[in-house]
Amino acid sequence: MGGPSGGGSGGEVKRMAQELLKEGNAVRCFQCGSCTSACTVNSAAPEYNPRRLIEGILVTNTPPTYEDVWMCATCGLCLERCPREVSAMDIMLAARSLYLAGDSKIPKDRETMIESIVSTGYSVPVKGDIKKIRGELGLPDIRISAEDQAEITEEFERSGLLSLIRHRRGGGDER
């Protein structure tokens, strides 16, 4: 199952592009290319081109694809170098939640982290022997109380994110 990566109904795609116009100062972009030139990911993967992705939003009503938006390293160099204070990073981040609100999933590794926060409060597993190691190092116990955990889980329920994720599950594909 994929996201509306160029597919999906034309109206939906156009709407996403329209929404993204309001993010990260997108309309100020004049396509100078400073962002792509500075981009961490572009230096290793030339097919990821933040300037071109913004051009899509500005000129052809084409939002970045699902694959594109999950490639961003969130390093912030694009915003730092941009003379118009356009943040390609913030546009990609905004697009991620729009995709999720569409019919996409979250990449598996991120979903695992989110589920982990929902159930343990931490984004990574609390492995069995960590208690022992911490004890040996003289560190306090890190167990989060049931009450605290309930509070944390509730935030995911309140925003509707939890049901959205659980609803999408099924299929080992990280998309």
Binding site: G33, S34, T36, N42, N49, R84
Partner: protein, 815 residues
């Protein structure tokens, strides 16, 4: 005045500017219902020839003796309508304008009904004031026909020449030891890529040879008082430490032990503490035969006075120069000179400065020696420059084989200067051509966002550069780095989407141009506002492009906005034309909106004398009684003393207490609780509100602006009158602290508002209903923001969420 006034009201459509939102017919109908209005009509363009003809016709036919024009801002056309009614036989000071465009139709575009209601109110207010207007006679003053030109660059030079050549004296004040400004530092200029010397030396020579132009180099203006035709200017000339016996032999330079960075070469080379000043060199152009040039240039440059000057900050006073000077021309104890000059007109031509790329550290300027600015490259190419015209890399003195130009450094950049600096594309094209022509086989790449070549013959230069093989990469580099000992320019070729990392031996940053360093100082001295980018503001970009809001002060060259050499020269001509226009009269008329005194009421408390920064009120004693006397010729018409007199002994012509109170009453006759009374000063906040209109910034339609010349005119009594009549809120909007046109009017306004606020709660008025917000002429957005915030609070009071009376924490004070 036993008879009732006969008021004529003229409501302008201004095409669709007003009529597209406000209903002129409704406003006319409402006007007709007002007492003393004997005639009201609408015009499509009241300021046009036909509109004015209609106005004059109506005045005659209906015996009108007071005129209200409901149209654009008075700052736009008050002079026009004053002249018009004058022509119809009325005194020019019986005109009052209602601003239903900048303050109404342009800022309430989506609320036509409210805007029309507001227009009716504004007309009612104008009629209320017009009823009480009296004819006034202008104050006539003589004109001193001597001009001051501040700045010895190309524009200042041109203005000085034009004025002097028509027979008037000019004093040209220049901060550096040189004439010629930035143009002097250029080797060649675009579009013809010809020698700067060709035109500049001639002009400088003419200045130096003109007996009516007194050139003061090493000089600065330290203060300006007075008014048009009668300025008193203080100038300080720093000691050159060399006297007129200097023959320019240069022996002193050899003897001097002190070295300093040479500003003329932007620090790329050094000079001694004592150095020579002369006119630009005679380097042959590459275009014409060498022999021809030798003759022509020698002829032009035979008059090349060279004199020494000492940089008194670097000089150690060791005296070695004096020891070798054959004519005893060194005077190490020479004092600075301060003088006061009487001037009739001032031309400001202080030019621009370059953006410092150290604030863009990603380009490595001042870290890597081979990263230069375009002006530095120009110096390298200049025969009088640090390398005598040879293009050599600062790091190793070799000729660069690959040169990269990076455009838009420090301009079109929200973190530096958001505007486009206009000339840098052309500078780069010129330099690229010079490189290609003089160093065949060299590679030149230009990294750009857009190539802007909008002037005469400019596109041809772009084509020439391309035909010579200059390579253009469309992509703004994100950084310049060193890799394996070579400079690497990192950019995306946006036209293909390919990321590039390209080596260069020399990187030239085409840096943007900014207002000159002294701009805030000069602006403060002359009371000229600055625009959002820091440039001096012209009075109106189309109506008065070389004049300022200060009568008698003009601007020339790039100080009011970056421009190329031809335009700088043209502006110099234009400024001179304005000055010559002024000098064509022996006398001029000043606005008679000064203060006047009722001696009976004066109790001799002398409070007013402390409020006047112009010494226009003197404390006197008459028959043992303490009184004051007005010096009307010094009075600038701010009204601060009027508002501060506890006994009402003072008043101001054309802005009398009675007139202002009538405006307040008229504004608040209906639904006062819904309204905000806004006291705006003519120079800053009134203009700021106008600017909000020009920028079409929208805000709610319940403000009623009362124009005063200065916020100092706003008295406690006026504010209380507004509240007593039921005003929802009151705003006093002065200039920013150091910007008051009348020096300290805004300080007095603040004192009065602060004092009043502490007593408001006791009077059953929530102190949050009185706001005090600084708004400058360029801050339309601040005015809009203030209107929005005030309305938000007003809504809370109307809904009952906040009390109309009583105290609320966090009262907004001056921002």
């Amino acid at each position: 005045m036993s008879e009732r006034p006969r008021i004529g009201v003229f409501v302008c459509h201004c095409g669709k500017n007003i009529a597209g939102v406000v209903d002129p017919a409704a406003v006319v109908a409402a006007a007709r219902r007002l007492q003393d209005v004997v005639f009201a009509c609408a015009n499509i363009y009241t300021c046009s020839e036909s509109g004015q003809a209609e106005l004059k016709k109506a005045i005659k036919e209906h015996n009108i003796d007071k005129v209200v024009v409901a149209a654009c801002s008075p700052k736009m056309h008050e002079p026009t309508f004053r002249a018009c009614v004058s022509d119809a036989g009325l005194n020019p000071y019986v005109v009052e304008m209602a601003n239903i465009r900048e303050h109404d139709s342009w800022v309430h575009m989506r609320q036509p009904e409210e805007a029309t209601q507001k227009a009716m109110d504004l007309v009612k207010m104008a009629v209320a004031k017009a009823r009480l207007l009296r004819p006034l006679e202008p104050i006539v003053v003589p004109v001193t026909r001597r001009a001051l030109v501040i700045g010895g660059g190309i524009a200042g030079i041109q203005a000085a020449l034009d004025i002097a050549e028509r027979g008037h004296e000019v004093v040209l004040v220049e901060k550096s030891p040189f004439l010629g400004g930035k143009a002097r530092m250029l080797d060649k200029t675009f579009p013809a890529v010809d020698c700067t010397s060709c035109f500049l030396s001639e002009k400088i020579n003419k200045v130096l040879m003109n007996p009516r132009i007194r050139v003061l180099t090493l000089s600065e203006v330290t203060g300006v008082d007075g008014f048009i035709g009668n300025f008193k200017v203080r100038v300080k000339t720093r000691a050159r430490l060399v006297n007129e016996r200097c023959t320019g032999c240069g022996k002193c330079v050899d003897a001097c032990p002190v070295e300093a960075p040479d500003e003329q070469n932007l620090g790329l080379s050094s000079r001694k503490a004592i150095f020579m000043v002369n006119t630009p060199s005679s380097r042959p152009c590459t275009r014409l035969p060498l022999d021809y040039h030798k003759e022509v240039h020698l002829a032009r440059h035979s008059f090349s006075p060279r004199t020494a000057v000492i940089d008194s900050e670097r000089c150690t006073r060791c005296g070695e120069c004096a020891n070798v000077c054959p004519t005893a021309a060194i005077e190490l104890d020479q004092p600075d000179i301060e003088e006061q000059l009487d001037m009739g007109a001032i031309v400001v031509a202080i030019g621009f400065e370059m953006f410092d790329p150290r604030s863009k550290p990603q380009y490595g300027y001042s870290v890597y020696p081979d990263v230069l600015t375009s002006l530095e490259l120009e110096r390298l190419l200049h025969p009088m420059g640090p390398t005598h015209g040879q293009l050599l890399r600062p790091s190793d003195g070799t000729v660069p084989k690959r040169t990269a130009f990076i455009q838009c450094v420090g301009c079109r950049d929200d973190r530096a200067n958001p505007y486009c600096a206009r000339v840098c594309c052309m500078v780069t094209l010129k330099q690229a051509i010079l490189l290609k022509e003089n160093y065949p086989g060299t590679e030149v790449s230009v990294y750009y966002i857009d190539v802007r070549a909008g002037g005469k013959e400019y596109e041809a230069i772009y084509n020439k550069a391309k035909s010579l093989g200059v390579r253009f990469v469309r992509g703004r580099p994100s950084s310049v780095r060193e890799r394996d000992g070579s400079l690497m320019v990192e950019a995306e070729d946006t036209l293909s989407g390919v990321r590039l990392e390209e080596g260069a031996d020399l990187v030239v940053l085409a840096t943007g141009l900014q207002p000159a360093e002294d701009t805030p100082k000069i602006a403060g001295m002359l009371k000229i506002p600055r625009d959002q980018d820091g440039f001096l503001m012209e009075a109106h970009i189309k109506l008065k492009p070389v004049e300022t809001v200060i009568d008698g002060v003009t601007v020339a060259g790039s100080c009011s906005g970056i421009t190329d050499i031809p335009m700088s020269i043209a502006r110099g001509h234009a400024a001179a034309a304005k000055v010559l226009g002024l000098f064509s009269k022996e006398q001029i008329e000043l606005e008679p909106i000064t203060s006047f005194l009722d001696l009976e009421k004066c109790k001799g408390c002398y409070a007013c004398t402390k409020m006047c920064p112009f010494q226009a009120i003197e404390a006197v004693e008459r028959d043992g009684k303490k009184l004051v006397e007005l010096v009307t010729s010094s009075c600038k018409g701010c009204g601060t003393c009027v508002a501060g007199c506890p006994f009402g002994a003072l008043d101001q012509y054309h802005f009398t207490d009675e007139q202002i109170m009538a405006q307040i009453d008229a504004a608040l006759e209906e639904n006062p609780r819904d309204k905000i009374i806004s006291f705006n000063c003519n120079w800053c906040s009134y203009a700021g509100a106008d600017f909000a209109g020009v920028s079409r910034l929208q805000y709610p339609a319940n403000t009623r602006v009362i124009r005063v010349m200065c916020s100092g005119r706003v008295s406690t009594k006026m504010i209380m009158r507004a509240f007593e009549k039921g005003a929802g809120m009151v705003l006093v909007a002065p200039c920013h602290p150091a910007d008051c046109h009348y020096i300290s009017g805004n300080e007095w306004a603040k004192k009065r508002v602060d004092a009043l606020r502490t007593t408001l709660a006791k009077k059953g008025i929530n102190p949050d209903r009185l706001w005090f917000v600084y708004v400058s002429a360029a801050e339309g957005n601040v005015y809009q923001g203030t209107m929005n915030k005030m309305n938000a609070l007003l809504e809370k009071m109307k809904s009952g969420e906040v009390a109309w009376e009583g105290q609320v924490a966090g009262a907004p004070v001056a921002k």
